[in-house]
Assembly symmetry: C2
Homo-oligomer: 371 residues x 2
């Protein structure tokens, strides 16, 4: 059921446009995936996701495994039925949260043991188990268990994490094949920190195992943006041209446009949703903080060119008032706008690639941002 | 512009159906008004209010006066434009919040001085000022400044509050007339605590002044439900049959059906919205707490007969999960259901009055509740 096809390539950069097919429909790349941590993209409904143009969302395996748990979600034929979302879902493996959020994460031969950040209960995630859980969640694209290391880290730490990541990737690939989840894709995750030779080794080992797609993990973990771009620039060309290439946990609009230039196809990030809840709004002229007193009686919409529900119906003054009064509607209206911004931005990138005008689109983007 | 017409009366009780006309459209009585304290019915959008059948909402003058203030709202031609709500609005006078929420409320010859609960700033609300503020808010129905006394209180406290309430009502009536707000209605508020003779005196004094409609205030302030019903039963017939009669701050579905039986036309209460945010859901078989573990993997909707957005799309298990995880979507989905419950309940009451089958409707309601 899963397939990927490149349908246009820029003649001026590695930017490309494609189509992913899944059991729950098509996804046009490049694509941005909003994060639905606990079976809900915080504050907004499935209908609002569709209205803002969202084609695929990300679910967090770690969180959903702890709450409400697979035994509940399986009664609803997976996450789609449970949360009433009928389009594609990508789930992460839970590895990132185990190492960043859970307590006492410890690698054993079997996998990684940890204590829940919710209630302190003890759990084991193994490569086989993350395939089981993601199968139960009924995802469209599942990810291998990996070990993501923060920046900075020693070469030795990075090398050890890389080796575990490759071992786990092999076991995930085996479990995935055994489960014969026909339609569900499995992506490998490249690690290797900020060392190009380790990035190359990780990528080549994963390509050898053969996955439906490849993610570049371990970026946006505290390194300077130049280093992130250098690593992406180095790693992306090593990955097969015929498979989707996914940069995990990134990023700002500027990050996205640069990484698309380098040939990336997929992105996820909490930035539009989390920042919306903190009052930071994305506009064609850069970010604004809606709590700023200059918007006190401003009757303009957030972003004059925007056609989202929020901008069509509400003023900056009203949004500022709701935000300062901590009204629940504030989080929703802000989130709708920010997601719409990211989605329409990446759609316009895709249209420019299709028309082979991506480089001029990129220049226009920066020019507008400086206005 | 404002008018009221009784279009049907029960032959078995004082229950009646009517139509209020305002500059922003018609309101079919009996009616329940959800509370939109700060320019938003907490967690839901104007479109969702319309979809659940809401015809009129209540705005809190005290809160809106403090945040964002009249100078902001007046730039949007009132609250309707500011919050994007195009149907009728009733605003209270702020008196209730001044005496219950603000600090150091003190009655002076001019009105009542208090300190804001938000920032401690000092303010004066006078009868003239509450008319000014409500005019600026662009409301459809404004309320007189009154002094509401909690239960229990001495006869002397109640008498003093009643006398101030009548004096303020006269000044409100004068200010309203001077302002010549053609289309905007002004309602008087009956006080008098739990003393029938004081209730009679208050009602008669207000009727003498002559208002567009009359509210019974000072109920649901801690008294036993039997006492509340006794006071309503005594007070409602004293009020003019040709004017709408509004019971403020009430109440449960059981309260509503009893008060409609006694001839009340209008209600407002935070019960459906506040309880939704605390996980207490109204159903045809009584209230349930959505956090109950019995709903852990329950795939049924909240209320099997309900046609609200929440019940059409989500299971109890999902709602329980969202609520326990404190997901923002929980508050919205719960609020939509509870408001829909109250609105469809009062609509069905109205239909029964029109068909003159109200008493059998009432018996069926209690029978179902006990199921």
């Amino acid at each position: 059921m899963f397939s990927f096809e490149v349908i246009a390539e820029s003649t001026e950069s590695r930017a490309r446009a494609g189509v992913i097919q899944t059991a729950h429909g098509a996804v046009e790349t490049p694509i941005f995936m909003p994060v639905g941590t606990l079976g809900s993209v915080k504050s907004i409904s499935p209908e609002e996701l569709v209205e803002t143009g969202v084609q695929i969302i990300l679910g967090n395996t770690y969180h959903l495994y702890l709450r409400p748990g697979c035994e509940v979600i399986s009664k609803f034929e997976g996450l789609h039925g449970f949360m009433n979302w009928r389009k594609p879902i990508l789930t992460d493996s839970g590895g990132f949260q185990v190492f960043s959020l859970a307590k006492l994460a410890k690698i054993s031969p079997e996998g990684v043991t940890f204590q829940s950040h919710v209630d302190g209960s003890k759990h084991l995630l193994s490569p086989e188990k993350v395939i089981d859980i993601q199968t139960c969640l009924g995802t469209d694209i599942m990810m291998c268990l990996d070990q993501c290391i923060e920046f900075p880290a020693t070469r030795e730490q990075i090398r050890a994490a890389l080796e575990i990541t490759t071992q786990w990737a092999q076991r995930c690939r085996q479990a995935w094949q055994t489960a014969q989840n026909g339609g569900i894709a499995l992506f490998g995750i490249v690690q290797g920190g900020m060392f190009t030779d380790l990035r190359r080794r990780s990528a080549e080992e994963l390509v050898q195992i053969d996955f439906s797609g490849y993610a570049v993990g371990g970026l946006s973990v505290g390194e300077p943006v130049e280093v992130m771009m250098e690593m992406a620039d180095f790693t992306l060309p090593i990955l097969p041209q015929a498979r989707p290439r996914y940069i995990m946990g990134v990023g700002t609009p500027e990050n996205l446009i640069e990484l698309v230039t380098l040939g990336a196809d997929m992105f996820d990030c909490v930035l539009p949703t989390r920042n919306a809840r903190n009052g930071q709004m994305f506009t064609q002229n850069g970010t604004i903080n809606i709590s700023n007193s200059r918007y006190k009686d401003d009757s303009d919409p957030l972003d004059s060119g925007c056609r989202c529900y929020t901008c069509r119906n509400y003023s900056r003054a009203y949004l500022r008032h709701l935000y300062l009064a901590r009204e629940l509607l504030a989080y929703r209206l802000n989130t709708i706008h920010n997601i719409h911004y990211f989605i329409s931005f990446i759609r316009r990138m895709r249209a420019a690639i299709m028309a082979d005008t991506f480089e001029s689109f990129r220049k226009d983007f920066y020019r507008q941002l400086d206005n």
